[in-house]
Symmetry: C2
Subunit: 196 residues, 2 copies
């Protein structure tokens, strides 16, 4: 059993599985070790504390979304406004899918997120950098026009404005009837605000 070498990656996979099975309150390091067929001491060789292990799992989960969006940004065929629309729609769709497909697992990650605000801040920072990139590109190409261009501040404003459609705290409203219409109204408002 467990003849493969014990890697950080394998521990993260096992931890995710244990979290899925037992939930955030009951998931413990001994179970993770058992799932890997090793002693819990070995897990501590890779992660100094349980908190650090959970932080790494949280980061991995958030990074999946960042990567999906990053991929989209390499599409050169889109104008900046189209790219921004697509980016916002993809972010909303990804979050809504996660929340809708497996509500229990989503609730687990909401707990992890609340435990790891530092990781979330970094994640938010990455997303806003992606927005910054799109906005800067749009200004350069004359596809956005702002009275006092400040891409960083505008990126933050766009992120804030769309909060209801990406902050997990609002996940309960994402299944509501009329939500797509409300999402469209908000993105329209934001895109008009960028004068595009």
């Amino acid at each position: 059993m467990a003849t493969e070498t014990l890697t950080t990656e394998r521990i993260l996979e096992a931890t995710e599985e244990v979290l899925r099975r037992h939930g955030p309150a009951k998931a413990n390091v001994v179970d993770v070790a058992r799932a890997l067929g090793v002693s819990h001491g070995s897990v501590y060789r890779h992660f100094g504390t349980k908190a650090q292990l959970r932080e790494a799992v949280t980061k991995r989960w958030l990074d999946r979304t960042t990567n999906e969006l990053q991929l989209l940004m390499t599409d050169g065929s889109l104008t900046a406004p189209a790219m921004l629309r697509q980016w916002l729609a993809t972010l909303f769709a990804a979050k809504r899918r996660k929340a809708g497909d497996d509500p229990q697992l989503f609730a687990t990650y909401q707990v992890l997120i609340s435990e790891n605000s530092r990781v979330v801040e970094l994640h938010v920072g990455e997303l806003i950098m992606q927005l910054d990139h799109i906005i800067q590109d749009g200004i350069t190409k004359g596809q956005f026009s702002l009275p006092h261009p400040d891409p960083a501040l505008t990126a933050r404003a766009v992120f804030d404005a769309t909060n209801r459609f990406h902050d997990p705290a609002y996940a309960g409203e994402w299944q509501k009837a009329g939500i797509d219409e409300e999402f469209r109204a908000l993105t329209d408002l934001v895109l008009r605000g960028l004068n595009s």
Copy 2:
């Protein structure tokens, strides 16, 4: 002692005081009754359950903000864009003041709010109706121009867009350096989106 008649209003005041003193977890109906110099049975004559009493306290607290904003809306000297700016700034200032002046009491009300989502929904509905009124007024006077005017949906979008500056969940960020600049960037974006 307590020669005045026992009114709903006096019970609400006493409950607020007990909540302030003991916090949401420890505040109980017997303490409210004691504060009023009556038996707890008398309190149950006015409010069927403890939950209903707390709901009424929550509604009263939220209504104070609604009323402050409603007052502002009677000012006929403002254009719709100026009114909207003022409305958003007043809402943010009111919330930030509540959160900053007495963080413990604010935390208490955050608990009450999480217990009474129905009351919060009604409150949000009232705020969006105020926004709807401003937007409709602005469209009529030609101070806002929208491609497909739908004031109700636009009001919702404006409310959603400014979430970070009125949803108590974000209260922790309201003291952060640079928050005013971010608020200005967001309101500028929204107002440009209304083409004003």
